[in-house]
Amino acid sequence: MIVNLAFYLFSLILLASAVMVVTARNPVHAVLFLILAFVNAAVLFLLAGAEFLAFILAIVYVGAVAVLFLFVVMMLDVDFAALKEGFQRYAPIGALVGLVLFGELFMVVSGWNVLTGADAARLHPTPDNLTNAAALGSLIYTAYLPLFQLSGIVLLVAMIGAIVLTHRDRQRALRQNLAVQHARKPEDTLVLTRPALGAGAPLPAKEKETL
């Protein structure tokens, strides 16, 4: 009973915060509602007994992805009037796309069939003597290894792409080079001397080279 109540409570919060993501006026509030939605999705995973997935969702999406997302959105200077301007024009197209997506979802859900023997397996997704993480690992690293590695490569390509897009050659920027600083000796830069009147001091060894 308590589990059912908790399920409805958290799914209600999840749906409400998902709606708020779209309708919130302030983009930072929208991202915060998105984070709330992530957290509630993680709780739903917990209620379904998928504790490993729940915490991975919390760590990856809430702890890393959403932080960077919030980071970017906070620094944006969004003009709300300009955002609202195109609403009238684009509303019909948006509604059309939404309708098509909804229709597709409806077709998928209504045509959904579960194998006759699969119901029992769905009630107990992991064997009793195995923990979540162990069950998942023994599947991913044996039966689905090629797919798993393929998705890793896709992520790697995305990462390289992001680096290539944002990388700028900053040769001219002033950088601290610790090795050079540590290799400096007093005699390279410092000369103790008593110059003759009007002759000026000689330059230290290093400074002469650079001139």
């Binding site: 930072v28 919390a58 890393a64 980071f71 906070m74 993480a133």
Partner: protein, 342 residues
């Protein structure tokens, strides 16, 4: 009577709720007192390092100082700056402090003495500690102040960077243990504490912990000489106190995590007769206290890092070392057949 409680009442739904509440109280009250006295401990230790006396006026040895400070904080005026996002401004300190306390639900202070002995305890800890950054970001943004915002940005970049190497260190420990359960992680160290075979990771974990808690020398988010007090510059009275106490609770938490992962948790360091009789809680607290002393020692000794040095340390030093160490440990375990059978 007690037999009745054990056999029947605590098995019912209501009984479980009451039992959990009592366990939570039994953990949180000592923890909060510990947090209060950690501020006293820090000031005393730093005073000793700097040849001062530290707090010595209120009560014997200044022992009542934390309570005097708490009363002072309570009596100050809570100010919300103009143009601040009121809801988020109020929420941020609560979030910081709440998360610092919530994480303790899975910490075993003795064999099986955790409120929730869950299978993925270490993931829970990692998730909660990665949420800690939100309190800082929200505070910085909601304050509607440039200094606070700069502090929040610095803190966000810093905490995300150091989490990566912390994650790799945790994974390395996990492949040695073969379980995500904190109790199992400690019990796996019966023969040797992981601080010895994984010594470089132990050091990196502790330094990353300093960065995660925004403590010196990684306290750029506060950076009082550049950005006044960073993300909590606009906070006053109790809302400031919540940030302050949250930082100290996080210090205890990171020390607890270091103890569990590397220093053998509640296990007795001297394995013969008179010492093994002392309860495990004592050893756990002793190890946590030693870690906390190092926290304070570091603060009193090292100057603050510059921002680019901080980023270079996280991404160019810690991340490669932990990555290579993870692969090396996995290779050694596989070669010698020491991989645990989960």
């Amino acid at each position: 009577m007690s037999a009745f409680f054990h056999a029947q009442f605590f098995q019912t739904d209501l009984g479980i709720v009451i039992l959990t509440l009592l366990e939570t109280l039994a953990l949180l009250v000592p923890l909060l007192i510990g947090v209060a006295y950690l501020t006293w401990f820090e000031r005393k230790v730093m005073g000793a390092i700097q040849l001062r006396k530290g707090p010595n006026v209120v009560g014997p040895f200044g022992l009542a100082q934390p309570f005097a400070d708490a009363i002072k904080m309570l009596l100050k005026e809570t100010i919300t700056p103009a143009g601040a996002d009121r809801v988020l401004f109020t929420l941020a300190p609560m979030l910081t402090f709440g998360l610092a306390l919530v994480a303790w639900a899975v910490i075993p202070v003795n064999d099986g003495w955790a409120i929730a002995n869950i299978n993925v305890g270490i993931l829970y800890l990692f998730a909660i500690s990665s949420l800690g950054v939100y309190g800082v970001i929200i505070a910085g943004w909601a304050s509607n102040s440039k200094y606070a915002f700069l502090g929040a940005l610095r803190s966000a970049a810093q905490m995300v960077s150091y989490e990566v190497s912390m994650g790799f260190i945790i994974v390395t420990v996990l492949i040695c243990v073969g379980s995500l359960n904190l109790n199992d992680i400690v019990l796996a160290q019966r023969h040797i504490w992981y601080a010895i075979p994984l010594f470089p990771l132990f050091v990196i974990f502790f330094i990353s912990g300093l960065a995660e808690t925004n403590r010196a020398p990684f306290d750029l988010a506060e950076g009082e000489s550049e950005i006044v007090a960073g993300f909590f510059v606009e906070y006053s009275a109790m809302s400031f106190a919540l940030f302050f106490l949250g930082e100290y609770a996080n210090m205890i938490l990171i020390s607890g995590m270091t103890t569990l992962l590397f220093l053998g948790g509640w296990l007795c360091p001297i394995p013969f007769a008179p010492f093994t009789l002392i309860p495990g809680v004592f050893w756990f607290l002793l190890k946590v206290l030693i870690c906390l002393f190092v926290f304070v020692w570091v603060r009193a000794t090292l100057p603050r890092l510059r921002y680019d040095q901080l980023m270079a340390l996280g991404w160019k030093v810690f991340l490669p070392i932990t990555l290579v160490y993870l692969v090396a440990v996995a290779g050694v375990l596989e070669y010698f057949g020491w991989l645990p059978n989960a």
